[in-house]
Each structure stands twice: as structure tokens, then as C-alpha cells.
Symmetry: C2
Subunit: 419 residues, 2 copies
């Protein structure tokens, strides 16, 4: 079969499965999630032996240790995949929820019903656990899924796919509810993102270059996460103890995450008082610092930042620091150089916090809290498929709701429209 | 200035204006709408004389009478543009609304704030009144707008643009809040839809071919309306009087609208009883009919429908009729041949109406009501910028809310994340 026929078949099967999933009951979907967990449990030896093939191939290809670590499937990771399935089963089912049902002057009642998006394509790198994460969230939200993982995880993903499908079928749901592509041909990705007749939305998960390439070529809507160049602004009316705790947490909790602070903005009236202690504490943690001239006047061990630094998401123990004359300049800086991901103000001033919340154009805007909280679990969604830096559809951490849409429903009793 | 520099300048100005509009107060935005109305009132002679140039050019180019009618600006149409501005001013302002603010286990409060999308590009055909419709809805929702109207309405749109800008400036809002392109170069459209750095969303208004072309080429999200191949399904448990009224209203209220019924589906158990009277009434109104073999067995004056007919939005006094064995077949037919716009069931059976609402995959699904109700005004939105047949972001009639997004806001008091 040609690749094109294969992708066409996958698409048609997904579309047909999506019709059945859209009307599946919560009970059936949860049964499928538990059956998937059981199937993973039974498949442990096979999962580990298939993963060993990927690991061997990866080592032979010379993958670095970070990539090999992401690729690894051991018993602990299988445990957490199984646990994840149970957690998703425990989440409330958003599908079918009816809201805003009101009587209108014509006599009809109009409201909205939450429905699945239909078919979701997920493109991700060589992390086998994403296969289960993505499949479980899409299934719970009543969507059919087409998964395309990184080629380095090919054998692992095929083994996971078998377990997933056996669980889905055991619960009486359609066999093609979750399909993992069984080709490593790169052209398959290009086809997957240009089948609007079969695929309703693409969620790419991975590095910025992968996501940019997919967004550029896609003929289907993309829910995407680009970079997280997050800021904390410390106001002249900040409680400096809170500011210290928040800045340290936002920068040093974890370095490689998208909600880490990458740039610190400090009001000039408190820079002398605030920065020396913070700079010392950050340097003690091994964070390398670049800053504006005013920052360097306070501590000359800070390197001079370039224009490029203000745009940069380091994803590393590195921070840029800028001293500014007032909050308006901080807001302008964030809206210009930031990535509209997550930005925070530390201030005790009521009017300023109110203005900051309104004027900063980011998917999460925070007052007196660490940017680290920008996360589906911390926001109470129970799980997340990613964080969207788009403004259309889902913005910010995307949980089950981001994988749904709302249609209008109208109830009448023989009503017709007059004019 | 080259076209590219010009479009770049327009984009930068729009982005800068959008920052100011995002924080404009409701009072200021309403003042601007009233000032725009005053400016249109004062500009009446100029609007009419500039429109006369377009009308002369249109006649010389041989535009047909329907196009010339759409192009015409007379005092009555100016009245209704002015009235439209006042209606938009009277709508509640969605911007800044905070919802779902909850305390989470970590101690932070998390909610969502409604915000403008940013910059909206509107591409439309030669109907000058759309300039005011679109500009007013975008302004009220805090967005900057770039408008590109049909070239036949060039002089009319420029004159309207002057009035709009004078109103905007009189209210202290940014001069570039609403920009009407002053070029008829077709390449400007291509540039407008590929500037994601300056334009957040494109709303094309016009025929299907325009919209398909724009969707295909856009590098920016598109809120689009394709066709409205709407169905009414008359169940064997329908109240046939209600079914008759609904079918007549859905088909004959207006023929050229997207929410008109284009295909009637009838349960075989009531076809003999229901169809003869309906066919007679429709033919009396001049509606030409095509149908399946079973329909033709009931009335041989109905022409045989082709496979193509079931896919077709006639936008004309024409209807396709199909007799089916049960509701499930009707739902499958609608989901396969329909355009996911608006579909209705007529039935007194509780379980069937409940299943129809859930299983039909359309932007509006109705029970015992005419498809004609699928409309922003009828749904109580006060105005609509169009009807979306997409599933992502806005689906169905798009009012002010469809021109907004929601960002997360987090309030803490020095909160940091533990793990």
C-alpha cells in the first residue's frame, strides 16, 4: 500500500471511530481507560523488550544521554503510565455538558453543548509515555486520535499501541479510536497535517523548531506551544521578602521548564536594596547572570546583556536582569520581548496589580505568585496536554476542555421565525 | 512606498493601537461608537458622492444589478449604519470579565479574564456597510482592525474610513484602531493573511471561493463560514403540523441565506402522509424539488436527485428530499452530506430528540424549531460578525465573544511552588 493510501485509510478509520466515540458514555470511556491500564500491566515484559530494541538502536545511532533517558521505558515509568490512566478516568467528563440555556424573545431556548473536536493528530518526540498521556486525554474527551511519535521510539510505541487498542476494544469502543502510525516515513507527518477532511486539530509536542515547522505547513488548526520567555517584575511597592521567594522559586525550581523565569525586571527605586541579595543567592545556585548597565552598576560580576538576551528563553541556569523606571515600562518590555506565556508582578499596590493583570498580554498573568504555577495540574485541571501560546481556541495550560468544542442547541415546540 | 512596506506599516500601527485598545474603558469605546455615528451623519453628502463614483465605475465595468445593489449607499443605508453603531454601543462589554476564580490546594486563586484577540483582519466583498459592522464589533471588543473591502467599493470605503477615524480620535482612542487599506492591489490580501506578527485572526466574509482561497493560503488563524447545507429531519413520531410549519419556514423564509433548509429528510412511516401536502405547498411557492426514488413514488413531479444534490447548498428556491427508514440513517446522512452548519429534528419522542442533539455534529442542532433561528440576533448576541463552521475557537453564530480570548490570571500573596 502506498503511504498516501495508508494515511487515507488511517484518516477514514479515525473519522468513523470519532462518530462512535462522540456518543460513548462516560462509563464506557472510563472502562476503556481501566482496560488500557490492565493491558499495560500484562504487557510489561513485552513493553520492556520492545523498548530495549529502541534503546539499542538509539545507542547505535549515538543519541545523547538526555535523549536516551527520555526514550527509556522501565517498570517505574510503566507504573506512572498506569497511574496516569487511572487519574484521567477519575476526571469529570466534560462531554455533553449543557450551559447558558436561556429562553429568547422568539420563544426558543438556546444553549451550548460541549462536544469533542473529532479527530486529533498528535506529533511528538521520542518519549513513549506521551503516547499514553495523549491517548488517554483524547479518549476521555471523546476524540479519536492519530499518534505519530518520534522514530527512535518506534518499537516502544507499537507495543504501547497494541495495549491501548486491546483496552479500547475490551470496553466495546471502536478499534480505531487510538491509532499509532506504523511508519517512520517523514512524509507521513506532512500528510497528517494536511488532511482537514479527516483531522480536526493537530497538537505538536516537542521543541520549538518542530512546532514552528508544523505550524507553517499545517492545513489543519494547530494548538501549539512555542517558547516560554517568562518575566517577574518587582515593583517599588513590592514586599521584598515575597519578591525574593518568588524570584528564586520561578528561576531555580527547575531550569528546563517553560514556566521558569527567564528575565527579571526590577523597579529602579528598589534595585539597590533588592538585587545584591538575590544576585548572591542565584550565583550560589550556579545561575549565570546578564543584565542592563544599571544592574551592572549594582554588581559588576553580572555580564552585560545583549538585545538578543531579552528575547531569549534560556531553559538553563541563566537569567537576564533589567532595571526600569516604572511599571509601565515593565509592561511594555514584557509585551515586546516576552513570548506571551506567563508573567508576574510582585507589588502590594492595588491599582498597579489591577493594571498589570489587564495590560500584560500573556496566557497567564500573575500577582504575587511564582510563574511556576502555570501548569494544568496546579490550575486544577487534573492533567494537561500542553500549554498553548495561541490566542485562538485554548490559551494557557490545555486540559480536557481544550480538546472540546461547543455547539449551539436550540429547543422549540414548532417554532418558526417571523422575519 | 512599496506595497510590502505599506502593509508592514499598517501592521505595526495596528499592533500598537491594539495595546491601547485593550485597556480602553467601556465608556471610551462607547464614546467612540457614538462619535463614529455623528461623523457618518455629518459626512452624508460626501459618502453619497464618493459612492456615486463607485457606482459609475461599477456600471462601466458591467457589474450585474445584484452587485450594484449591494454596492449602493443611500440615505436609508447610512441610517442603518448609524443605527448599527448605536446598537453595538448598547451591547455589554465582554472585556475584562473574570470567571471561574477559585482557590486551589496550593493557596493561589486561579481564574480567567476575557481579553481582546488583538488585531483582526477582515476581508470582504463590495458591501460598504460591512465596513461599519466589522469596525464597530471589533472596536467594542477592544481589537484593532485592518479592513480590506472589495475594490469596487474603494471610494465608499475610504470615505467611511475617514468618518470612522475621526470618531475614534474624538474619543481619545488611537488613530489606527480601525484602518481601511487604501490600495486595491490584490497582493495586499496575500500579505495581510501572512503577517502573524501583526494580525491575530482573519475573518473573511463573502462567497465560498473567496473563503476557501483565504483559508488555504493563510498563515494566521481564520474564523470562517463555508456553506450551510442545512437539514430538517421529520421523524415518524413528529407532530406533522409542526413539521409542516418548520419545513416551510426553513425553506421559504428566505432562499439566499446560509440557515435555509436545503435538504428534507422524512421517516418512511410518515412520508405518504406528510409529503403530498408539503410538496404541493412548496411547488406553489415556486420551489423546485428533487428527491430519492421513494419520494418520486409519492409524487412523480419531483425530479430524481443525483448524489451531488445531497451535498449541495442551493441558496435558491430548490430542495432535495429523501425518505429514510429511521433516525439513525438521518443522522448518518446529515453527518456525511451536510456542512455541519445547522440541522433540526421534528419529533415528539424524548429519547430520539436527546440522541439527535448529541449525535449530530453541527454548529447548531435544533429540536422542533426552524433552522432559520441560527443567527446571532436570534441567539441574543445583539450582533454577529458571521457564522463559523469551524470547530476550533468560535463555532456557530459569532458575536462579540467570538472576537475575544481568555487569559488565565493567578492571585497569590507570595506563593511559591513546592515541587
Amino acid at each position: 500500500m502506498s503511504l498516501e493510501s495508508y494515511m487515507n485509510q488511517i484518516g477514514q478509520q479515525a473519522r468513523a471511530a470519532s462518530r462512535l466515540l462522540a456518543k460513548a458514555s462516560t462509563k464506557q470511556k472510563n472502562m476503556a481507560l481501566f482496560a488500557m491500564a490492565d493491558a499495560l500491566e500484562s504487557a510489561r515484559p513485552r513493553l520492556i523488550s520492545e523498548n530495549a530494541k529502541d534503546m539499542d538502536n538509539g545507542r547505535a545511532k549515538g543519541l545523547d544521554s538526555a535523549l536516551l533517558d527520555r526514550l527509556l521505558l522501565d517498570n517505574k515509568r510503566i507504573d506512572s503510565m498506569i497511574e496516569g490512566l487511572k487519574q484521567v478516568a477519575a476526571l469529570p467528563d466534560p462531554i455533553g455538558e449543557i450551559s447558558d440555556m436561556v429562553y429568547l424573545p422568539s420563544g426558543i431556548q438556546r444553549g451550548q453543548m460541549r462536544v469533542p473536536l473529532g479527530v486529533i493528530g498528535i506529533i511528538y518526540e521520542s518519549r513513549p509515555n506521551v503516547t499514553i498521556d495523549a491517548a488517554s486525554l483524547c479518549l476521555k474527551s471523546g476524540n479519536a486520535t492519530i499518534l505519530r511519535g518520534g522514530s527512535e521510539a518506534f518499537y516502544s510505541n507499537q507495543a504501547i499501541a497494541e495495549a491501548v487498542t486491546s483496552g479500547v476494544v475490551a470496553a466495546g469502543l471502536p478499534e480505531h479510536a487510538v491509532q499509532v502510525l506504523n511508519t517512520t516515513d517523514r512524509d507521513a507527518v506532512g500528510m497528517l497535517i494536511s488532511m482537514p477532511e479527516f483531522v480536526d486539530v493537530i497538537v505538536p509536542r516537542g521543541g520549538k523548531s518542530l512546532i514552528e515547522r508544523i505550524s507553517k505547513d499545517a492545513r489543519v488548526p494547530v494548538i501549539k506551544h512555542l517558547d516560554g520567555n517568562c518575566h517577574v517584575y518587582v515593583d517599588d511597592e513590592a514586599d521584598l521578602e515575597k519578591a525574593f521567594a518568588i524570584a528564586m522559586n520561578a528561576k531555580t525550581r527547575r531550569y528546563g521548564v517553560c514556566n521558569a523565569m527567564e528575565s527579571l525586571l526590577v523597579h529602579s527605586a528598589v534595585a539597590d536594596k533588592f538585587l545584591p541579595k538575590l544576585i548572591g543567592a542565584l550565583q550560589e545556585k550556579g545561575v549565570s547572570l546578564v543584565g542592563c548597565e544599571q544592574t551592572r552598576a549594582i554588581d559588576s560580576s553580572v555580564e552585560l546583556a545583549t538585545e538578543e538576551d531579552w528575547y531569549t528563553e534560556y531553559l538553563a541556569p541563566k537569567l537576564s536582569i533589567k532595571v526600569l523606571a516604572n511599571m509601565d515600562k515593565a509592561i511594555s518590555h514584557i509585551n515586546q520581548y516576552g513570548s506571551h506565556h506567563t508573567d508576574a508582578i510582585v507589588s502590594q499596590n492595588y491599582s498597579k496589580t489591577r493594571a498589570f493583570l489587564t495590560e500584560v498580554d500573556s496566557s497567564s498573568v500573575m500577582v504575587n505568585a511564582s510563574t511556576s504555577f502555570a501548569d494544568g495540574f496546579e490550575y486544577g485541571f487534573g492533567a494537561e496536554i500542553g500549554i498553548s501560546t495561541d490566542k485562538i481556541h485554548a490559551r494557557g495550560p490545555v486540559g480536557l476542555l481544550g480538546l472540546t468544542s461547543q455547539k449551539y442547541i436550540v429547543l422549540g415546540d414548532g417554532h418558526t421565525r417571523d422575519n
